[in-house]
Amino acid sequence: MSTDTAVAKLDEVRVETHRIAPDEFTDTIAAVVDDSAVGVELADTVGVSLAETPVAVDPTPAALKAASTGVTRASLCVADYGTLVLPDDDRGTELVSLFVDHHVAVVRASDVVSDMETAFERFDDDLQEAIDGEDPRASRILATGPSATADMGDLVIGAHGPKRVTAVVLEE
């Protein structure tokens, strides 16, 4: 079962994971986020809404910079690696997932794929769709665990990007 593998792998790469039913979403998010949380609306992408949560949706850049938690969707999760695939879109998913200390990624269990090859096939499909549409571009970040560096004399978790990552997996 890909989701079991994914959860085990996410844990291995230092991502705290919550497997929940959609109706548990509001409570889970409230429990997971810090005081100053911002986010990108999820209703039209993963089917749950941030509206009833403490998360400020579609923040200003200054609010983003002041926030400590950012909530966004992940379009895929690659089970073998514990990788969350983050789309770079015009709503600021990349910014909100990057310019915070704590990133909370929300992904549907049905978007968990087993391996990297499949993830690339899906990305290729997305690109093809983009090419067929008006805009031929599509960008993704394969994010595996928090940012890290070994450049300062020892391994440090939390470099330029988030220090902490939480995954919320929505079971159908």
């Binding site: 990108v40 579609d58 923040p59 200003t60 850049p61 200054a62 609010a63 983003l64 910079k65 690696y81 990788t83 770079d88 879109d89 015009d90 709503r91 600021g92 998913t93 990349e94 910014l95 909100v96 990057l98 310019f99 990297m116 090859e117 993830a119 690339f120 096939e121 990305f123 290729d124 690109l127 983009a130 090419i131 031929p136 571009r137 599509a138 960008s139 993704r140 970040i141 394969l142 994010a143 595996t144 665990g145 928090p146 940012s147 890290a148 560096t149 070994a150 450049d151 300062m152 004399g153 020892d154 391994l155 440090v156 939390g158 470099a159 330029h160 990007g161 988030p162």
Partner: protein
């Protein structure tokens, strides 16, 4: 001896942190690739993609140009560094940028774009923490992946405390990272231009992959509105689907991570809103995303490398650093010694030869001893030792293109230069033939023949103080090394005395049921380590083999190591011609010295022409390392192992402290180290093994005055393992001549070749 002093200094100052880091990466690689279902198949796939991409490169660049244009970006192919820098400067000037923030890119180091932009008054800021440290310290990267791996935490703390004077002073890695993140964060957010490299670029969509861990590349792109990506032309692959294999391999190969924190798959210009982080009124979704993207692909010698049959493979390199991490010499000195203008480590030779020229490659090429431990580590299966050999050959030959063709040279015993030449020693080569020290080491066959013929006088003379001084001055042989002691009676002469040396009647077997075996009289076994030759014959005979020791020429390993390719080729042709009739008449070939077996199994293929390929294949297929052969006899035939040990209490297994086995580097690359362990265990020995990649002696390397300290630094690690508590009482056992010499120099107890432990007459 300025080089020697510099290497000694680097071993002392940068060596300890470089070793800790590279060995950590290397160990991580072993563990990470072991978690893959089929590592070899993945490497094959990656290799095939690169071969295809380089083959079709001009077409792929055209396709990529269209893809980038359709996406709204611009592709520029720059002929050289100056051309690239001029383009970048124009883009930056058009944007009226005051600051360019950069993520790590070796290609931008190659073209020195920072200096070009700074000359225009632009503030250029490296955002990779290691690269930032190097920029502040005004140093060069010491590793293609970890630019600051030569700096310790204390050294970095001193640097930042001196520069910025934070209170309280920074100390821990966490504090240093937090400080750097804050310093750089503001600079990134207010920069106009972001410059990145590109690990791979897909021609079909214009998508580029950026492999990072810190998140600085993401920020460099997202926080600026003008993205310039600089990459070598060789980074182009046909399609997005091709990226998968590389994404699975690059982190594992480089830093031993299954995958790095971030792999950005960008099809620029990206969609993210362009924001001013001071804006507290406009929500993100209401910001526009008007972004510029420029992909600058650099030729700078690469297309000429593509046309070069020997250097082409270098273009498959994905710059993971595995060849640096797996290299025992790199682990000692790092890229500041083992590197040229830009690139370092094993593959650095290929890059520098192609991009900067032979002079830059010549600065560090001799650090590659051909130990081959990088070869299985390379995710695209580049024969990195061969590239180093080819470049060494070209350096030897200097600028005279005629000499590139061995046929023009004439295949004399020393095809690289005249043996009778009495002109003064040239230590740098470049006059169309190898330097005197290379010719000395490369012609070791002649030295050994003379040495045995005149032993013991040759040994006394060689050891005399004034002669050692002269050897160091003229031939570069370090005085501190004990020289090989030539034996008056060679292995072949001994065998002839026993009536087993008949090299004439290849089919003259006395017993048709016996396995017929040629024991190859390699140079060292024949002239120096005669005892292991005798032991091999006795062991094989005890196991029922019919053994001959014919007159076969030296393998050519010695000249090959010195980059004397024509001479080595001459040896290869003779050895194959000598052995082929034996194999054709049903003999197996047993080779005691692993580096000689590696010549037959691995290197000859590169040296021999089409006409000799069939004979080579026949010989190579039937050639075995000594313990590999014994293993086969014990496992697959009814050979009686009690003929070796056990039945008559030659060895008291219960009281035996066991052995500690150091396998030979090239033997490990051939996958033959396990056979020795298996045989020894089968005979009741308790076996532990070492895990240093190479003993550091590596043929002539450890004898060379310039490299003695480097060799002993590698040796020191081996000594540490051999003298560790669990190994201190064990008999050290090693398969290679060099390893045995090195261990003999390192330890107070004497090492043995494993075949000697099996010798039925030794007890």
């Amino acid at each position: 001896m300025a080089k020697r002093d510099e290497y000694e200094r680097l071993i002392r100052t940068e060596g300890p942190t470089i070793r800790e880091n590279t060995q950590g990466f290397n160990q991580g690689r072993y563990e990470s690739v072991a978690r893959l279902d089929d590592y070899e198949a993945l490497k094959e796939e990656a290799r095939a993609i690169k071969e295809d991409a380089i083959e079709r490169l001009p077409d792929l660049i055209d396709e990529l140009r269209e893809s980038v244009a359709e996406n709204g970006g611009t592709l520029y192919v720059a002929d050289d560094a100056a051309d690239a820098n001029e383009y970048v400067r124009e883009v930056v000037a058009d944007r009226e940028a005051e600051r360019v923030v950069k993520s790590k890119s070796m290609t931008t180091e190659e073209i020195e774009v920072n200096e070009a932009l700074e000359a225009d008054g632009v503030d250029v800021v490296e955002t990779d923490l290691g690269e930032w440290v190097i920029q502040l310290a005004d140093e060069a990267p010491s590793h293609i992946v970890g630019p600051a791996i030569h700096k310790s935490r204390e050294g970095i703390a001193d640097l930042l405390n001196d520069r910025f004077g934070p209170e309280p002073p920074l100390e821990t890695a966490e504090e240093l990272t937090e400080f750097a993140r804050d310093q750089l964060g503001d600079l990134v957010e207010s920069a106009e231009v972001g410059m990145t490299g590109a690990n791979f670029v897909a021609a079909d969509s214009g998508t580029m992959a950026l492999v990072t861990s810190e998140g600085n590349a993401r920020k460099t792109v997202a926080a600026t509105d003008t993205h310039i990506a600089v990459a070598g032309v060789e980074k182009v692959v046909p399609s997005v689907a091709d990226l998968s294999a590389f994404v699975e391999l690059i982190g594992r190969s480089g830093t031993g991570q299954d995958i790095t924190s971030y792999v950005s798959l960008l099809t620029p210009p990206v969609d993210s809103p362009v924001v001013d982080f001071g804006d507290d009124e406009t929500p993100l979704s209401e910001h526009g995303n008007d972004r510029d993207f420029h992909l600058v692909l650099i030729d700078n010698g690469r297309l000429a490398m593509r046309d070069d049959d020997q250097l082409r493979e270098t273009l498959y390199c994905i710059r993971c650093g595995a060849c640096s991490n797996s290299c025992v010499n790199f682990q000692s000195v790092g890229g500041h010694a083992f590197g040229g203008e830009t690139y370092s480590g094993g593959i650095g030779t290929g890059w520098e030869a192609g991009v900067e020229g032979l002079d830059s490659a010549a600065e560090f090429n001799d650090f590659c001893t051909g130990c081959t431990r990088c070869a299985p580590a390379c995710p695209v299966k580049i024969d990195i030792p061969w590239i180093n050999t080819v470049v060494r050959d070209r350096i030897n030959r200097g600028a005279d293109p005629e000499r590139f063709d061995p046929l023009v040279d004439g295949l004399t015993p020393d095809a690289e230069g005249s043996q009778t030449d009495n002109s003064p020693a040239t230590t740098e080569g470049g006059d169309g033939r190898p330097s005197l020290d290379k010719r000395f080491f490369g012609n070791f066959e002649t030295v050994a023949k003379l040495g045995s013929a005149t032993a013991p006088v040759s040994n006394w003379l060689a050891d005399l103080g004034p002669n050692r001084w002269l050897m160091e001055r003229v031939l570069g042989v370090d005085r501190r090394r004990e020289l090989p002691q030539f034996r008056r009676e060679t292995f072949r002469e001994w065998a002839a005395g026993r009536g087993v040396a008949d090299g004439v009647t290849a089919t003259g077997s006395t017993d048709t049921d016996s396995r017929r075996v040629v024991v190859y009289p390699d140079l060292y076994t024949n002239h120096v380590q005669v005892g292991r030759g005798k032991a091999t014959v006795r062991v094989l005979e005890a196991l029922g083999c019919d053994v001959v020791v014919p007159d076969v020429r030296a393998s050519g390993r010695a000249p090959f190591s010195q980059g004397m390719v024509a001479t080595a080729t001459d040896h290869a042709e003779d050895v194959v011609a000598d052995l082929e009739p034996y194999v054709a008449s049903g003999h197996d070939v047993v080779v005691i010295e692993p580096s000689d077996l590696a010549m037959i199994d691995r290197e000859y293929e590169k040296l021999l022409g089409e006409g000799d390929r069939d004979a080579l294949e026949t010989v190579a297929e039937c050639s075995y390392e000594a313990l590999e052969y014994v293993y086969g006899l014990l496992e697959q035939t009814d050979a009686d192992q009690t003929a070796l040990v056990g039945a008559d209490d030659r060895r008291d297994a219960a009281a035996d402290p066991g052995v500690v086995y150091h396998s030979h580097c090239q033997q490990r690359t051939l996958g033959l180290d396990g056979h020795t362990v298996a045989v020894l265990e089968r005979l009741g020995y308790d076996v532990t093994t070492t895990d240093v990649e190479c003993c550091g002696m590596a043929g002539s390397f450890g004898y060379k005055a310039d490299y003695y300290d480097v060799s002993m630094d590698a040796g020191a690690q081996l000594r540490e393992q051999l003298d560790a508590d669990e190994n201190r009482d064990r008999v050290p056992v090693a398969s290679g001549t060099s390893c045995l010499e090195q261990i003999d120099a390192l330890l107070s107890r004497s090492p043995a070749h494993p075949i000697e432990l099996l010798d039925p007459t030794s007890a």
